[in-house]
């Protein structure tokens, strides 16, 4: 575990340097963007601003400076929002974590449960229907699914709100506010999570189809174990492990998906912040967002590794010894 932690430092360094280089490729710099937002300015003002932001230095010395401030957990200053980037991200991140956490939990639980139903009798009608349904869901773009859900459940049926994270100026506190936020998150969670639900369903199903062919299943059958126990304890349990690995692999994709879903539902989260940074041409903010998302993906993968150790005793003991 410690080796993985140390191993992720060079990876993070490459991410920071790569992002920094990418932003250097952009025509114009932050001062240009700022002057445009002001409606213009003379060359003297531009030079003065460049000096105060350190933009008159070489790219290399600015990269060193950026790495130095990163080591002190300082992500710099957002030009579009005119405030420290770290605070901005810290303010937006919880909404996205709620969104992603709920979507992941829902997708994992429902997906693996339905996958067990489908994989219990491979080739049956239920299996065929679930396979086709999950494939169609898997092929649906999340932003479009979001629009369709808005159309059905917010415009036609009026069950859920169309956008936002909570009722504006509702004055709700405590549990009432928690319910309000949860109410607003139902449709975004569904449109972000359904694709992964389909993915987990398909993985569980194909994993179980493979386990059914193994000898120990035949042995268990010969011992006269009940069908339910065979499906749950022997087949499904062995097919579950790859899903946990997939959980870590999908963390990055889901973070990307939240950009679009948060934009559709106007959820003031981390993903929407990325879209706003792009729209405002705020390079430091975009760099900060990419670095923070890389840290998050690394953290999720470490957590998945730890969870794997608990679920699969063979891995767990090996880790303890080394």
């Amino acid at each position: 575990m410690r080796r993985r932690l140390i191993g992720s430092i060079p990876v993070l360094l490459i991410v920071v340097m790569g992002t920094f280089l990418l932003m250097e490729m952009a025509p114009g710099d932050a001062v240009d963007a700022y002057l445009v937002s002001l409606g213009g300015g003379d060359a003297g003002l531009a030079a003065q601003l460049r000096q105060s932001y350190g933009l008159d230095q070489s790219a290399f010395s600015r990269l060193l400076f950026y790495l130095g401030s990163l080591a002190r957990f300082d992500l710099g200053w957002s030009l579009a929002f005119d405030r420290p980037i770290l605070g901005l991200i810290a303010e937006r991140l919880p909404n996205t974590l709620w969104l992603m956490g709920t979507a992941t939990a829902l997708a994992f639980m429902l997906g693996s449960a339905l996958g067990v139903v489908a994989g219990a009798r491979p080739g049956s009608l239920t299996d065929r229907l679930l396979s086709i349904g999950s494939l169609a869901l898997y092929a649906t773009p999340s932003f479009w699914l979001g629009l369709v859900l808005i159309l059905i459940f917010a415009v036609d049926l009026r069950w859920f709100p169309t956008a936002g994270i909570e009722t504006v100026a509702s004055g709700k506190v405590g549990m009432a506010r928690v319910f309000d936020v949860a109410w607003h998150l139902v449709l975004p969670v569904a449109s972000l999570g359904f694709i992964y639900l389909a993915l987990f369903l398909r993985m569980m199903r194909s994993g179980m189809a493979e386990v059914w062919r193994l000898d120990f299943v035949l042995a268990a059958r010969a011992r006269g174990i009940s069908r339910l126990r065979l499906v749950l304890r022997h087949v499904a349990r062995n097919a579950l492990l790859p899903l946990v690995t997939m959980l870590g692999l999908q963390a990055a994709t889901m973070l990307g998906g939240s950009v679009v879903v948060e934009s559709v539902f106007a959820v003031p989260g981390f993903g929407r912040l990325a879209h706003e940074a792009v729209a405002a041409r705020d390079a430091p903010l975009l760099t900060g967002i990419i670095v923070v998302s890389a840290v998050m993906v690394i953290a999720v993968n470490l957590l998945v590794d730890i969870a794997y150790g608990f679920l699969d005793p063979r891995v767990g003991r090996g880790e303890e010894v080394s």
Binding site: I14, L22, L135, A136
Partner: protein, 277 residues
């Protein structure tokens, strides 16, 4: 080859996918013939409902543009971007994976750390950043999508190369005095490719979805009709004219579904051959 086609035809998924893809490709290829000229040009009265005017089977949008023309031209953009981004990712990934697996040592370490770095950054964020820095055009979108997709093939090819490079025919090529680069790319890479090609359908599908999401956010090529931009346009009229955003979305679902089904059919046909041999 013929035997393979026969096996593919026996898989219902594969056939369904193939038919879907042929229909979509026909749509894309016929677009300039059926609707020559710019699909973004105003063609008639705005906001015509579908099935009301035979000249505009699916009606017109807010500006009076023909929806069917947009759908057909949009199929071109989706398929073109999806296939070229996947090709680019497969080629780049194969080269990096072969070099890393064959060279070993420090070269492998550095290349694989770079692969790791690309994998921890969400592909969509990377594409977003790349497009915003270089300005949106079709080739830029293709590169932006490939940037987030080449790491999967790279890892897979490296793993394959690691197992193949110890085989006897590689040792034979060495004793023949073949150049290492020739061994890597002419002897090892072709043998490492089959499992990577199985990944191709997933990459094409996700490339189509990422392209759609980028143009939905207004970061696609502004001079080309794409399904994503049509959905974004239609979104403003979601209450009064929902079909404007639903129709291009169905196109996306059909495309991605076709790619998946076809990929599954091919994988099944390949597995059946291996099972028989």
């Amino acid at each position: 080859m013929r035997a393979f086609a026969l096996r593919l035809m026996r898989s219902p998924e594969g056939m369904a996918g193939l038919i879907l893809l042929i229909l979509l490709a026909a749509m894309a290829l016929c677009a300039p013939l059926v609707y020559p000229g710019d699909p973004m040009a105003i063609a008639g009265r705005p906001m015509l409902a579908p099935f009301s005017d035979p000249a505009f089977p699916l009606g017109t949008d807010r500006l009076g543009r023909n929806v069917v023309a947009g759908l057909m031209h949009g199929a071109r953009a989706s398929l073109l971007v999806g296939i070229s981004a996947a090709l680019m990712a497969l080629i780049a990934g194969s080269i990096v994976g072969t070099v890393a697996g064959f060279a070993g040592g420090l070269v492998e370490d550095i290349l694989m750390r770079i692969v790791d770095a690309f994998q921890v950054v969400p592909g969509f964020l990377l594409a977003l950043a790349f497009v915003s820095v270089t300005g949106a055009s079709l080739p830029v979108v293709v590169v932006a999508i490939a940037l987030g997709a080449w790491t999967g093939p790279a890892r897979l090819v490296r793993a394959e190369v690691l197992s193949i490079r110890e085989r006897d025919f590689v040792a034979a090529a060495r004793t023949m005095g073949m150049h290492p680069a020739e061994i890597a790319f002419r002897e090892i890479l072709p043998n490492a490719l089959p499992p990577v090609l199985a990944l191709a359908s997933v990459i094409v599908a996700s490339a189509v979805l990422i392209e759609a999401a980028l143009s939905f956010l207004g970061l696609g090529d502004p001079n080309i009709v794409t399904w994503g931009s049509m959905i974004a346009e239609g979104r403003n009229l979601l209450r009064s004219a929902p079909y404007l955003s639903i129709a291009p979305g169905l196109g996306l679902v059909a495309t991605v579904l076709g790619v998946y089904l076809f990929g599954e059919g091919v994988a099944e046909a390949l597995a059946r051959r291996r099972g028989r041999a």
